[in-house]
Each structure stands twice: as C-alpha cells, then as structure tokens.
C-alpha cells in the first residue's frame, strides 16, 4: 500500500481523471448538439391528451421533468397553433391526464406565418379546380399540387419584377450621379434616363398588378381545419409550406420527410424571422466570406512567411518580428473588428464613398459594413495563422535539400518555386484550412463590420456587377447568436439554433480534422525519430 502511494500510481490516475473530464466535456458538447440538432427534423408523433377537466391537447412531447414546485412529473408539449393559443408550448402535469391517444388523422401543417398548425382536416374549398380524390386528405394534397404549380408561375413573375427593380435602381443611381455632376449640363441625358426609368417602373407596376391578382386567386383556394378543442380554422393553401400526418407515416415515409427537411435547410431561405425554414443565405454568406478572405490572406501570408524564413537575415529584428506575428494570432478577435470598423469601414470606405459615390451620400455605399470589409478584417485576423504554418513547414524541410538545389546552380527563386514551395504545400494547406475554420466560426468582429440578421439579397447574383462587395451578408455563427439570443421567442427558436450549431460544428470539425491529418502526414515525412 505504502509503495503504491510512493510510486505515485494514484497521481497517475488523477491525471487520467483530468483528461477524462476534458473528454467527457467534449463528448457532452458534441452529444448535446447532435441529439438536439438531429432529432429536430424527425416527424414526431402528435399525441392527444384528454385532461381531467375535460379539455384536450394535441402536440409533440418535447421534454419531461419534475415540476419544480410540486415535484410531480410533468410534460412539455409543443402545441403550436400560435395564432389560436398565443403560445407554442404548454406544460401538462401527468396527474391531470386521463387518456392518451395517437389520432391517425392528426395533421401537422408548416405555415409561412404563425408557426405550425396541429389539427384535423374538415374540408377543402377550391373554386375552379376539379378535385377527384375521394378523401378530404387526398383532395387537400391534390389542391396543394395545383397551388404549388400556380405559385411557380408567380415566382417567374417575381423574378422578372426583381430584375426590373434592379434596372430601375441602376437608373436611379445613374440619375443621381448625373444630377450631382450638374443637372443643367446633363439635362438631355437625365431626361432620357428618366423616361427609361419610368418605362421600367410602369412595367414593374403592371407585373405587380398581375402578380397580385394571381396571388389573390391562389389564396382563394383554402382548406378548413379544426384544432383539438374543435375551434374551426380556415387556412389558405398558399400559406402551407408542407403537411404531414406523422401518426400514420411509415418509417420510410418519415425518412423521406426527414431528408426533405434537410434539403430545405440547406437550400431554402429562412422564414419567420429566421426561426424556421432554411439556412441557405447564411451558408452562402459564410462560404463566400471565407473564400474571399483566403484570397487576401493566402498570398500575403505565404509571401510574409517566405520572406521571414528564406530572405530575412536571422537577427534580433527577425526574431522580434516572428514573436510579434506569433502574438498577433493571440490578439482578441474583437480588436480586429474594432480596427476593421475604424480603418476599413469608416477610413477607406468613407473615402471611397466621398470619391466615387458622393452622389449617394449620406446613404453610405462602402462606408458601412459589408462582405468586403468583413473578409479583409478576417484576413488580417488569420494571416498570422498562415504565416506560422508556412514558416513551420519551410523550416521542417531539411537543409540538405535547399543546399542541393543551390549547388546544382538553381537560383534562390528557382529553388523556392520548384523545390521548397511544392514541399511546403501540405503545411500551407494546413494553415489555410485552419484559418478558414477559424474564420467560419468567428463572429465577434463580423458583428461590427458587416453581418446582418437578415440580408435581403445575396452578395453574389445575376445582376451586374455580379459580386456586390458592398452588400451585407448573413453568417452561420451570427445566426446562432442572433436567433438564440435576440429573437423574441427563444424557446420556439431553439431547435433551429441547434441545427445551425450542428452544421457549423460539422463544417469546422471536418475542416480542422483535414488540416490536422495533413499536418501529421507531413510531419512524419520529414522528421526522423531520434530515440
């Protein structure tokens, strides 16, 4: 026993316990995100509870716990129907429940507004559409198909309208510029442009009318529902995004519904102030910002590293610079954000505005946060990562290789381009991927220099000049912060936040594992074991 303590085996166990705690915490983090995120899309059964006071509740059980006041078990039920009940969730004490059933005809509707609807179908009203199906549910599906086809027609109109709108906006800006340069000098051009613009606007108004009438026609196709307590509710089919009968779905159908929801998440726009629908603009914004950032940070970082390692004389200055660069990686990201705001947005952006877009002032063009400034700020933030990684990989190339190349008569530049850089590529890639992972997850500086909760347009589209560097954009990380902490109905938004978190976590973990894998492979290539 004494020996056991003396040799210190218990302490080894204690250190092992520390590592165990770290791993348990990591597992808990990933586990919590996965269970909450993955389960969200699975069509859960709609359970009907009849309570002792005679009322009934229909909903999805979201959690069970002991009532903190009474200590009795209670259920949290998502009852949806926000427009009828006012709240999405309600607590039911287990002792109040008299019966529990799974009505097979219970419907789950995803709506464009007011969240989901849980209830039962009573009938479909569709003027001018022949509904051949026998059951009301069949009729509803048939009518929905018709509605979605008609909606498609309106989306093409909407597309044309947005094009016209863009053209009108371009004319307006041109007009502003001409007027700014001198209204009298350019009066003919102004008159021409004005008439062009009016033509476009007239087209726009005509299409708008057309769209309105079509939409009005579509909204006339409705279906009648009742909720579990018998309250009737008429819902226009145009309002319905998706519908399910989760209690009568086969596991296969549930899988299909699940995949459909995943597709929606990745490719659709958000609804209901970001708490429903998809994440496409946020994913797109994140990816575009990260790519733009690499465009800036990769060349500069690599050049700086090559200079430090291959060209600079190894003196005190170089050592200090190396320390400084290393440390910049540790400077808080918010400081970079503040710098980006002061220097890029107000400094460079402000000057650009007064030089080139003076006619639009005081509405800022580049003098406000945008994707360009965001990616530049993050490029600054991640340059040290790339410098350090590149330098390390250059340093790990054995000296003999360099000397061999020079001895064969190659110039320094040739050695660099033909020998060193190809060998260092995995290291540079590691740095790049690590910096991309960091940029994808970084939120604090972006909040200051250009991320918004809901961007009306993507920073890249089919309108000239295609890349709109001045536009604000959406970002997955900010989406988490915004929906989780700033939305009015946090409880209802939580599942969406978990899904977003899962997505972001997956991106970052995959990226950094790749980087670490690359790095380890490269390390083992050059290092020789000493012991």
């Amino acid at each position: 026993m004494k020996l056991f303590w003396k040799t210190g085996e218990p302490y080894v166990l204690a250190t092992g316990a520390a590592l165990a705690i770290i791993l348990v915490m990591s597992l808990a983090l990933v586990g919590v995100v996965m269970t909450n995120g993955l389960g969200y899309f699975w069509p859960r059964s709609l359970v009907k509870y009849v309570l002792t006071d005679g009322t009934a509740a229909l909903g999805q059980v979201t959690q069970e716990e002991n009532n903190p006041l009474t200590g009795k078990k209670r259920l949290q039920l998502k009852v949806a129907n926000r427009d009828l009940l006012g709240q999405d969730f309600r607590w039911i004490d287990e002792k109040d429940i008299t019966s529990r059933s799974l009505p097979t005809d219970a419907l789950l509707l995803e709506r464009r507004e007011h969240g989901n609807f849980f209830g039962f179908l009573t009938g479909v009203t569709a003027e001018g559409v022949s509904l051949t199906a026998a059951t009301p549910f069949g009729q509803l599906q048939q009518a929905l198909r018709v509605v979605s086809e008609r909606m498609k027609a309106t989306t093409t109109i909407k597309q044309q309208m947005s094009d016209l709108n863009n053209r009108a906006e371009r004319y307006r800006l041109k007009l502003l510029k001409l007027e700014f340069k001198g209204a009298e000098k350019n009066s003919t051009a102004i008159a021409g442009l004005t008439s062009e613009r009016e033509k476009v606007l007239a087209d726009f108004a005509r299409l708008n009318d057309q769209a309105t009438t079509t939409l009005a026609e579509i909204t006339r196709i409705t279906a009648q529902f009742t909720d579990v307590s018998g309250t009737a509710k008429e819902i226009s089919l145009a309002e319905i995004v998706a519908l399910q009968q989760p209690n009568s779905m086969s596991p296969l159908a549930k899988c299909a519904a699940y995949l459909e929801r995943v597709r929606e998440l990745l490719l659709d726009d958000p609804r209901e102030s970001n708490t429903e629908g998809g994440l496409f603009p946020a994913i797109f914004g994140t990816v575009m910002m990260v790519l733009l950032m690499s465009l800036f940070s990769l060349p500069f970082g690599v050049v700086a590293a090559i200079y430090l390692r291959e060209y600079a004389r190894d003196g005190l200055v170089t050592r200090m610079v190396r320390i400084a660069v290393n440390n910049l990686a540790g400077v808080p990201s918010i400081v970079y954000g503040v710098f980006g705001l002061g220097f890029f947005v107000y400094g460079i952006g402000g000057s650009l505005d007064s030089l080139f877009f003076a006619e639009r002032l005081p509405t800022p063009t580049f003098g406000t946060g945008g994707i360009l400034w965001s990616s530049l700020t993050l490029a600054l933030l991640t340059v040290p990562v790339i410098i350090v990684a590149t330098e390390e990989s250059l340093a790990s190339i054995p000296k003999g290789i360099r000397e061999g190349s020079l001895a064969l008569g190659a110039t320094k530049f040739q050695t660099l381009m033909k020998i060193l850089l190809p060998m260092a590529t995995p290291g540079i890639m590691t740095g790049l991927i690590l910096s991309m992972a960091r940029a994808a997850g970084e939120v604090a500086p972006l909040m200051i220099v250009g991320v918004v909760k809901l961007a009306p347009t993507l920073p890249f589209d089919t309108n000239f000049p295609f890349f709109h560097m001045d536009r604000k954009f959406m970002h997955l990380g900010f989406h988490i912060y915004d929906v989780g902490f700033q939305s009015p109905n946090v409880e209802a938004a939580k599942p969406m936040v978990y899904v977003t978190t899962m997505l972001l976590l997956a991106i970052v973990i995959i990226a950094s594992s790749t980087a670490i894998y690359l790095r380890n492979r490269m390390r083992s290539r050059y290092t020789t074991s000493t012991f």
Partner: protein, 740 residues
C-alpha cells in the same frame, strides 16, 4: 545552358527577391500598424481643449447706451449686443459693420433694462426698471457665399406666453415656462426679498382654459444678504446664495406654496457666494464665491435620514483666484464657463477638468455661449466684443472618469459605473472602464481556475503516461476541440448549461467533492491489480478510459445528492436560501457558467502547448530517470515537469491571453451587467463583450466610440504583452533543448 537563360533566371531571382522583401515587410508593417491605427482613434480623448479669438470688434462708440447682453452666431461671423435702451445691434464681427439695429418689440416707453438673463438657446429675459420682463428670443444665423461675402439673417421675437404683469421694485427677475401648465416668475426685490408669481393654465376635458395667478413671498428669515439667485429651467427649484456663504434651496413647484429645503454653508470662511448657475440637466448647481472657488452641489440622500435629501458638495472645480462674477452653463454638456475678473475658465463638472483658462488683459463684463456651445462671445470694459472659437473635443473624459470613482448625479456616493447612454440629452454619461476591467479579470480568473488544473494534468498524462498509439488519436481530438467556434460554446453555455445549473446549483459544488471521492475509491480498487499482471499490462497507458465512467458516475451522484442536500439543508430551495440568508442574488447566467464555458474554450489551448512542451523534454532525461529505478510518476513529476516548466508557464499565459479577449462566450453566457461584485452567482461584463454590445450604437467619433477604441487598445496591449512574455519563454525553452 544558353547564357540568356541563366541571365533571365538571375534577373527573375532578383525581381522575385525584391518583391518578396517588399511584400514581406509590408505585411509585417501593416500588422504592427493595427495598433497605431486604433490608438489614433482613441487618442483625441486626451487632447487638450483650445480657444482662439476668431474675430473681435468694438461694440459701440464710448458714451452710447450701456450694453446689457451679448451673443453670437455659430460660425463666429457675427455678434449682437443689447443695450440698456432696449435696442439690439447686429454686428459683422470681422469688419465691425452694423448689419442691423432692431429695437425689442413692445419696449415700455422711457424704460431701460436693468437686468438681462440668458436662459440658453439665445433667449434673454430682459427686466426693465418699471418691473416688466420681456422674454426675447434672438434668431441670428450667418451664411457665406462662394465669393466670401457674409450675409446675416436676424430676428427678434417676444414669447407672449411668458409675459407677466409688472412687478415694481424688482432687481433681478427669472421667468420660466412650465410648459402647458403656465409659467413662473421669480423676482428678487429690494431689501433682500424674493417673490414668486405663478400663472397657471388648467385645461378641463372640453379644452376650456382656466387661468389663475398666485403670488407668494418668501418669508423665511434669510441667513444673510442675498448675493446670487437662480431658478432651474423647469421652474421647480429656487436657489439663492448669501453674503455669508449660505446656499439656500426652495421648492416652488406648487403654486402659492414655498418650502425651504436646504440651507447649507458652502465654505468654512463664510465666503460670499457671488454667482449661481444650474448645470445642464438641472440637477447640479454650480456655486462661485468671492475667493474664486467654484464647486457643484446636488441633493444627496443622507445616511440615517429617511427621505430628505440635502445639498452636498460634489465636485470642487478649478479656483480662479478672483471673485466669480458670472457663470455660463453649456447647453450641450456638463461644462461650465466662469468669469472672474479678466479670466474666463471652462471646467467640466464630471471630469473636474479645467478645460480652458482664457486671459484677456481687460476685465470682461459680459459673456455668452452660442446654442451649440462652440462660440464664446465676450464683451470687455473697453467695449470690445471678442468671439472665441472653442474646440473642446471630449470634456467629460479624464483619467479619473475612465478609471477612478466618480460621484455622478443622482448617486449617493462616488462609484465606478458604466452606463453609456440614456433617453435624454442632458444625461451624464458614465464611462468608467473599471467595472469592465473587473469583469474581464473576474471571468478570466474564474475560467483559469477551472481550466489550468484540468489542462495541465491532462497534458501530463497524455505526454508521459499514455500509450503512444493512443496519444496519436487523443491529441488530435483535443486540437479539434480548440477549433470549436466560441459562438457554439457560448450558445450552449447560455441556453443549455445555464438553465441546467440553474435547476440544480448544488450539483456543481458537490461534484468538486464527489468526483475526487470517487477517484479515491477507484484508487483503492486499482491498487489490487497485481504488478506485471495481464490486467496491468492492458490498463497501463489506458487508465483514463476507466476514469471516464468514474467521472460520469461521480457527477450523476452529485446530482442525486444535491437534491437531497437541498431538501435537508436549504429548505428545498438553495437560491432562496442564498438570498434570504446571505443576501446574494442568483443570476442565471453567472460566473460559474463563465468559468466552465470559458474554461472549456481555453483548455485545448493550454493543453496543446503544455503537451508540446512536456513532450519536447529530451527522452534521454526520462530514460536516465527510469533506468535509475524511478517510477513513471516520479520521473514525470520530478524530472520532466521541472524541465518543461517554462513551456508549461507559457502555455498558461497564452491561455490567459485568450481568455481575456474572448468575446462571444462572455457575451452569451453572462447577463452583461457592468457590476463589480465578487459573488460567483452574479454576472459580469467584460471589455470585449462591452465593445461588441456598444459599438454598433456608438456615433462615429463620439466620446463613447473613442472610449471603446481605447478599450480595444487596452485589450491589444494586455494580450500582446502576455503573449510576448510567453513566446519569449517558449523560445528560450526550445533553445535549451535545441529543437525547433
């Protein structure tokens, strides 16, 4: 090889070298430049104020009627002078040309002005010697065309709503609007008397107006001869100063009723009060005395007394050395200009900074500030009008207001406070960085206490005891942990962990006891494993696998026990007990949450660097120690760890630097309340989170904007210094063992 090929490649080499050198240096310079740029934004906070005479001219020929009030436009181009006959002369300040002479509308015949009060925003209450007061507003603007010709627009108007019946014998009169409810006039009469006249307008629900008028004289025995009187802009309080240094305050807000609230001595030497003025916001009153002393006072709740507030000396401002004859409060901020003989001083109340001290050779008789506060107009005894262009960048900022305790208006005592904005314009901004620094350090220390033991012990285990094959798997896992975005950790801390801990606070505390206990129990069983047995060979280097269930069971046991403990010891509700017994409020997002979340974020950083450092200790040291018969723990603890100490220390410092600047976790997992409380159960606000919260709302180049940049500079310097020391340590350590 053709000669031109080698030439070409040599040329390419030279060009490339130049480009790479320039590029590399540029990157490095630009990186250092960041600090310069952000400091440049925050530096103007500390710039001194300046004032220059923009224009000066003679007001009127000698022998003309005595001037009683002066004023100027915003651009320092024109001035106006009221003389005692009631005419207002508008002057071009550059040339001295008279632009217009306008008499005050409705001058009482043959009367002359005996007192003029500037009530801010170019409004003057003119008291005539027959007891009539004319509330006059001057509109005076200037414009300059491309050719440099200056043109003026000017207008005089009388506010009919504030007209009162004459009050003969008045020496000074103060007229204030009560808004919809009417107006009040306070007269200082001869023979040391004060009279208050209130005109009330009452509207019934049909919109019919009922007008009434109330007189009341102040009958309280006055402690001395009245020397200065003033009324606040809402007409609620009347202040008076006496020749023996007493400051009096009456409540005159109820028509017909006057209540003496305060009678306090302002100086020990019974120095006569020579000037009184209310500072913007009407809470503080500035008192100037015959010795030149200048102080501000506002009512403070006295300890012990239940309700009554007593005027208290709050700020002692710069002493002018000569009797203060006139005080001008700025209508933009809490700055006060005071006239003492030939000197004009500008002081800011909150920061107690003496902003400007302007000397003119000749005594100054009259002065006024333009509504925007950037022009000071003075008239000296030689009848010369001077227009000063004022440039006072950030008067409310001083070292004291940023880091020290300040007695803010409405507070009971001096405090450190951060409250940057409010709904009203006359608000005193509270920009103390101390609570934020406190919050930053509190969060960091809480996190480090949680993270350091776990990360270092984990690193020691991974590098010294773990089976090498396993190490290749576990280390990347921790490295990937380092890449988890802080927004993810912050979200889980705020929306998952905080409610969880909230529902069972004791679990956390009990875990600190139960998990080590469980560890002891495990050790007890572990020692039964026979030396060199098969089981030992399997478990060696994999002990931590066994520890995972131990830890999990420990935490679960703590959770179970916490329920029992709460029922038995704390009457079923720990938080209630905490509040009623210890008086500690429990915030859901508190320092415990921060410790865990921020700790979780820095663990991988400390772990990775420390593990590198420990692993870099040459293997021959370990081998020698083991060969001498030391156990693996003895080797690790006595040989490896001491050698790796500099590296381990640098790991801790780098983790520390990371925790200081972390933004999203602190933003999401605390309530962001800028309070200075040592309690673990309270939230906090850190410097970095403060920047994230406030900077989107901060107007460009405002004091708040610059203060936020200053806090960014502080963060930069903090982390830079910490990281540099850590890096220097690490490089020395590497040098010692000769490995890069």
């Amino acid at each position: 090889m053709p000669k031109n090929y080698t030439d070409k490649s040599r040329r390419n080499d030279r060009i490339a070298e130049a480009i790479i050198r320039v590029g590399g240096i540029l990157v490095i310079v630009s990186v250092v430049w960041i600090l310069v740029m952000i400091s440049k934004v925050s530096l103007p906070l500390f710039f001194p104020a300046s004032a220059t005479v923009a224009a000066a001219t003679t007001a009127a020929a000698a022998g003309a009627a005595r001037p009683v009030a002066v004023g100027a436009d915003e651009e320092q181009r024109g001035a106006f002078v009221f003389d005692e006959k009631g005419t207002c002369r508008f002057l071009n300040a550059k040339t001295g040309a008279v632009a217009a002479v306008i008499p005050v509308p409705g001058i009482p015949a043959g009367a002359s002005i005996i007192f003029a009060e500037n009530v801010g925003k170019s409004s003057y209450n003119l008291l005539w010697n027959n007891g009539v007061v004319t509330p006059t507003t001057v509109t005076f603007t200037s414009a300059q065309d491309a050719g440099g010709t200056v043109s003026f627009t000017h207008e005089l108007s009388v506010n009919e709503k504030l007209l009162f019946p004459p009050s003969p014998g008045a020496v000074q009169s103060f007229v204030r609007s009560l808004g919809e409810k009417g107006a009040v006039r306070v007269d200082r009469l001869e023979q040391n008397k004060l009279r208050i006249t209130t005109q009330t307008i009452e509207k019934d629900f049909l919109g019919n107006e009922k007008r009434g008028s109330n007189h009341s004289d102040i009958t309280d025995p006055l402690p001395g001869q009245l020397t200065a009187v003033t009324v606040d802009s809402k007409g609620h309080f009347l202040y008076a100063g006496t020749s023996n240094g007493m400051l009096l305050r009456w409540d005159i807000s109820e028509p017909g009723q006057v209540r003496l609230l305060d009678s306090v001595e302002t100086s020990t030497g019974h120095m006569a009060i020579t000037a009184l003025s209310l500072i913007l916001g009407d809470i503080s009153v500035a008192v100037g005395d015959a010795s030149g002393g200048l102080s501000t006072w506002f009512p403070v709740k006295m300890p012990g007394s239940s309700e009554d507030k007593q005027l208290t000396r709050i700020h002692e401002l710069h002493s002018a050395g000569a009797p203060v004859s006139l005080m001008l409060p700025s209508s933009r901020d809490k700055t006060i200009f005071s006239l003492a003989a030939s000197a004009i001083n500008a002081d800011h109340m909150t920061s107690e900074r003496n902003l400007l001290s302007l000397k003119s050779g000749v005594p100054v008789t009259l002065a006024s500030l333009s509504p925007k506060g950037n022009t000071l107009c003075t008239l000296d005894s030689n009848n010369k009008v001077s227009l000063w262009r004022l440039d006072i960048p950030h008067p409310e900022i001083s070292f004291g207001t940023l880091f020290g305790k300040v007695w803010y208006e409405g507070y009971d005592k001096p405090e450190y406070a951060w409250q940057s904005s409010s709904a009203s314009d006359d608000y005193e901004p509270k920009l103390s960085l101390t609570p934020l620094l406190f919050g930053t350090l509190k969060a960091t220390f809480c996190a480090m206490i949680f993270a350091i033991p776990l990360a270092l012990l984990g690193a020691l285990y991974t590098s010294q005891f773990m089976a090498p094959k396993l190490k290749g798997r576990i280390k990347p896992v921790v490295e990937i942990m380092a890449a988890i975005p802080s927004v993810v950790i912050g979200f889980l801390a705020g929306l998952w962990l905080a409610p969880l801990v909230d529902s069972s606070v004791l679990t956390i505390f009990l875990s600190f006891v139960i998990v080590p206990l469980m560890l002891l129990v495990t050790i007890f069983f572990w020692k039964r494993i026979k030396h060199a047995s098969l089981l030992q060979r399997i478990t060696r280097g994999r002990e931590f696998f066994a520890m995972i269930p131990v830890v999990m069971i420990g935490i679960y046991l703590a959770f179970l026990l916490s329920g029992i403990a709460e029922l038995q010891l704390f009457a079923g509700d720990f938080k209630q007990w905490l509040f009623s017994t210890l008086g500690v409020r429990y915030d859901q997002r508190n320092s415990i949450i921060i410790a865990i979340a921020l700790g979780f974020a820095v663990i991988p950083i400390i772990f990775t660097i420390a593990e590198d450092a420990i692993s870099n200790v040459p293997r021959n040291l370990t081998a020698a120690s083991l060969a001498l018969g030391a156990s693996r723990w003895q080797t690790a603890w006595r040989v490896v760890l001491p050698s790796a100490l500099p590296g381990v220390f640098s790991a801790i410092m780098i983790g520390f630097g990371r925790a200081i600047g972390e933004t999203m976790i602190v933003l999401m997992a605390t309530g962001n309340t800028p309070i200075m409380s040592w309690s673990l159960f309270n939230g906090l606000r850190s410097l970095s989170a403060n920047i994230a919260v406030e900077i989107p709302e901060a107007p460009f180049n405002s004091s708040l904007y610059r203060v936020l940049f200053l806090s960014a500079v502080l963060l930069f310097i903090f982390t830079f210094v910490i990281n540099t020391v850590a890096e220097a340590l690490r490089q020395r350590f590497r040098k010692k063992y000769g490995r890069y």
